[in-house]
């Protein structure tokens, strides 16, 4: 059992997500930075999709009621060695500082966070109203039984501290609705150093820059969306959809990030620059 003393700016339980229900209006959710989640889980011997704590801009403080092995990945925070399985005795307080680079950190607990599941996942989805509420001071989180797999020997798993190269770059494929935009719009998308806005969140990364010009007026009948899609509302500034984005939308999608892009997007801070190629 662990107790949340302080949640920091925003923290929630996230696992591999709840795929397979988009046809019912349910988004995938799950960790925004899936590779970081999987690494943290691997380090403590958990299945890769096990529920962990997704921490936004550090600040999390917790009290370990029962001894547990943990690992921290994603944005490095002072307070726990990054990328290292650490056995924490009962009664210990872990206090994570604000990371100096990156945005989202993942704290995996050996055995996983053992709260209730909804539709096969423990992920918080605030937009869809599914899963546990975001973490607050006083919350008690049960920890599951230790898995069969042992903790990684950190010497056997070479793990490098992540380096944040700015401006970040995400690879995209054009379409499906690039034909809704002026001929130069894709080039403009690729040549602009977009600015990450402060109102970005798990629903989407909102970007500032020169508006992308449409050649087709009117509205697009709602179509399914996926996290990683670059949706362009009427003001012409794209939104990179995140894990909690609505599963259908009526704004044209000019391009979609390749699969690795979401993990990069998850670490973008307001004020960071983002390019596409």
């Amino acid at each position: 059992m662990i107790q949340i003393v302080e949640a920091g700016p925003w923290a929630s339980i996230q696992d591999g997500g709840r795929p397979g229900y988009a046809h019912l209006g349910v988004g995938r959710s799950g960790a925004f930075d899936q590779p970081a989640l999987r690494l943290a889980n691997r380090l403590v011997g958990n299945p890769p999709d096990a529920a962990a704590i997704e921490i936004t801009l550090g600040g999390l403080e917790l009290l370990v009621r029962d001894a547990v092995t943990v690992a921290l990945t994603g944005a490095p925070c002072a307070g726990l060695d990054w990328g290292t399985p650490t056995t924490v005795p009962a009664g210990t307080r872990i206090r994570l500082a604000t990371p100096s680079s990156g945005l989202r950190s993942y704290l995996a607990l050996r055995g996983g966070v053992d709260c209730a599941s909804t539709l096969g996942s423990r992920s918080t989805d605030v937009l869809g109203g599914l899963g546990p509420a975001p973490l607050r001071a006083g919350d008690l989180l049960p920890v599951g039984a230790p898995p069969d797999c042992g903790v990684s020997e950190s010497a056997a798993v070479p793990v490098k501290l992540p380096t944040t190269q700015l401006p970040a770059t995400i690879r995209i494929l054009p379409g499906p609705r690039d034909d809704w935009f002026a001929p130069g719009a894709l080039t403009q998308l690729l040549q602009t150093d977009w600015l990450v806005r402060a109102d970005s969140d798990r629903i989407g990364i909102r970007l500032d820059g020169p508006p992308l010009e449409r050649v087709r007026g009117g509205e697009l009948p709602s179509e399914a969306t996926l996290p990683g899609a670059l949706q362009v509302p009427p003001d012409g500034r794209p939104i990179l959809l995140g894990p909690d984005s609505p599963v259908t939308g009526g704004y044209p999608v000019i391009a979609v990030a390749l699969a690795g892009g979401l993990g990069i997007a998850a670490q973008l801070r307001p004020g960071d620059r983002l390019g596409f190629r």
Binding site: H23, L24, G25, L173, P176, P221, L226, V247, A259
Partner: protein, 224 residues
């Protein structure tokens, strides 16, 4: 966020029976010239290797693909065969699709407005709405929110320019050619006809959504 619809606002090139558009490296977006083909095409693709999720919408079907096992030629062949079958006649109707009857108290805030625009009495609006047979074309906007097609077009309404901040759970609304039922209290941009007490969404039920795509739906007047 409010559901938005304008069916028919965008039609693909008239000569192409279906377009297959890229959606990143993990999905394809299928757009038939006739939106009525969306669910038949979905049925034709279910079970194809490498196709893992099917998300219908107003004019398209998103298919999630696993690169390791997906074969594009197999998908194209299945689409062609399905469209050829469709060309031979009967409109899509799945005799095994469940029919859900929703009791409705027709006392919505916009009933008079809908009647005025349709040029008839509120009682006639209720009659036209409750005697139609609907089909769930797709879900979106929020868990369990179904877009129902098949209603009387004389009752159609545009969405509100400014959505109401809150509409009650179970609200039955009309917009842009669809009837929709709000599973829970939320902002709402649709014109309101009434309310149903049915539970549209329960994530802990075996079938969490009462109205998944393809379900047939009727509305029944609940005496007030």
């Amino acid at each position: 966020m409010t559901p938005r619809e304008e069916p028919g606002a965008l039609a693909p090139a008239a000569t192409e029976p279906v377009r297959v558009l890229p959606y990143g490296d993990q999905a394809l977006l299928i757009e038939p010239a006739d939106p009525a083909q969306i669910l038949p095409l979905r049925d034709a693709l279910v079970g194809l290797p490498g196709c893992s999720e099917f998300v219908p919408a107003a004019g398209t079907l998103l298919v999630r693909i696993e690169a390791a096992t997906f074969v594009r030629a197999t998908l194209d062949a299945a689409l062609t065969a399905a469209l050829a079958r469709a060309g031979q006649g009967a409109p899509y109707s799945d005799p095994d699709a469940p029919c859900v009857v929703l009791p409705v108290r027709y006392d919505g805030a916009d009933l008079d407005l809908i009647a005025d625009d349709a040029g008839c009495s509120p009682d006639e609006v209720v009659r036209r709405h409750s005697t139609a047979t609907y089909q769930v074309a797709f879900c979106g906007f929020s868990p369990g929110f179904a877009y129902l097609s098949g209603g009387d077009r004389s009752l159609d309404q545009p969405r509100l320019a400014t959505p109401r901040r809150s509409v009650p759970a179970g609200s039955v609304g009309i917009a842009a050619g669809y009837t929709g039922v709000y599973p829970r209290e939320s902002p709402g941009g649709w014109r309101l006809l009434g309310t149903t007490a049915a539970t549209l969404w329960d994530p802990f039920r075996d079938d969490p959504a009462l109205l998944p795509p393809g379900t047939r739906v009727r509305f029944e007047i609940e005496p007030s």
